[in-house]
Point group: C2
Chain length 284, copies 2
């Protein structure tokens, strides 16, 4: 297995997550080399001038062959396009990973079309926030966060281990390995459903002055409504089978509570709220 | 108008909010005197030993006549009971205020039954959190928070001004004066609906291990599910006419988004998410 210090890591897309990877890798690993490609030259030049990356590329095709590991930090739909376009450019042995929020499509495609001598390990760092763009990357901290990996059957154990070592080195506290189905089902709940709820909360109330009556709950529940619109539209629709199930699962509990509240059933309501409170405490 | 420095302020109930009032008053106003009553003697003695209060009372009836201002930091239903029980004990000119999350009932009752020579100003500091009890009071910060006042027609302008001066002195940034109807309607949205949503999110998913897939959104949306069960059951039911309307208003937006997602209507969906994002940004 390769040593982390000797790696050349390529980052495709220096946005919020790509930028945060570069910054975290730079801080935690003094010797590895960080290469980066982005469609925005200014962002590349800024990152280079701040010594966050070692080498910048205006052409992805020139960077790809030089890397041992490539992080594709671009929108999910661009990942397959990128792989199609540059499939022949990777050097043998290269490990590639993505950060997308839906895994079934990428998993299937990579299981069947990937070159035999390179390895693609689908991944999902659970570390985004409501911001986007490189300028916010510094505040996107990985410490203590979760990371999901969805290994292909063909992934080499050494490659998987190297990637995990790298992930832990930049602060993530827990890596969970699972299937693409399980990932998409659970992420539909913990992430996508929450974004839909936040958006519905803002959508349903026309009076923006209502925040005069805010005490923190509303603000906390709706912060993620400041989402990256194109990325989340894509995620919601790509995962819509699981997401719609999850919305309905939530609606059913919400309806149950609504009826108890409407009918002033305080004993049953307080029993449910007590259970909810206890279960949420164990989730901390 | 009285000078803040000369006031004797009585706090009834040294829980999360009562404790936070005592701590903030002590920090911001060196000269006023803080008196406190609680059903838990140990909490009173702890607060006295930490010099957070000047005088402790095991009997509310002995404290009440000594105060210029009384903060009733107890559950809403206990406020009316307290006022009934001690109505004759207040000294002439005393200002009384509460902190409850529903205002119509207390407003009506106080407009009609209050002694002529004392003043009750219903209030609602928007500064709670998911904790309860005096031991968490220190972390309950008022800086930059909202405060709602629901003045009775009979409140004296001088008394209202004194209370507002006191509220600003402990860190609150904005006081909004409104009617009991308007308060209950808007709080049903910004506060109670959010607590119902958080509870439904926890209620609907039996697998507590789902947090392995958490990236912050789920955690932020459900933190308030660790609520004070008896207080929130009471608030939900007391305000159930407005709250049920607010739940249905939210359900309608959620359903609209669900259908767009299910039908892969990406253009309409992304238009709505774009509007939501922009409106949420102006709400900051």
């Amino acid at each position: 297995m390769k040593n982390i210090d000797d790696l050349k890591i390529g980052i495709v897309g220096l946005g919020l997550m790509g930028g945060a990877f570069a910054i975290s890798l730079r801080k935690s690993n003094k010797h590895l080399k960080i290469l980066a490609y982005d469609i925005d030259n200014k962002v590349l030049e800024l990152a280079k001038s701040k010594n966050i990356i070692d080498e910048l590329f205006y052409d992805a095709g020139k960077m790809v062959p030089k890397c041992n590991i490539v992080f594709l930090c671009i929108n999910p739909k661009d990942v397959l396009e990128f792989m199609d376009k540059w499939m022949e450019s990777f050097s043998p042995g290269t490990i590639i990973t993505d950060i997308g929020g839906c895994k079934r499509k990428i998993f299937e495609k990579m299981e069947t079309t990937l070159r035999d001598d390179i390895d693609f390990i689908p991944g999902h760092p659970m570390a985004g926030n409501e911001n986007s763009g490189f300028l916010h990357a510094e505040k996107c901290n990985f410490n203590g966060k979760n990371y999901i990996l969805v290994p292909l059957k063909r992934n080499k154990p050494d490659n998987l281990n190297l990637l995990k070592q790298l992930i832990y080195s930049i602060g993530f506290k827990r890596i969970t390995e699972t299937t693409a189905e399980d990932h998409d089902n659970k992420i539909a709940f913990t992430s996508q459903l929450c974004h839909v709820i936040a958006s519905a909360l803002i959508d349903c109330e026309p009076n923006t002055e209502i925040t005069k009556f805010g005490g923190g709950s509303f603000e906390d529940l709706t912060r993620i409504a400041m989402l990256n619109v194109s990325m989340w539209t894509e995620l919601f629709i790509e995962n819509n089978d699981y997401l719609v199930e999850r919305i309905e699962q939530f609606e059913s509990s919400l309806d149950k509570l609504k009826i108890l509240i409407a009918e002033s059933k305080s004993k049953t309501l307080s029993d449910i709220l007590g259970n909810v409170r206890n279960r949420r405490i164990t989730m901390e």
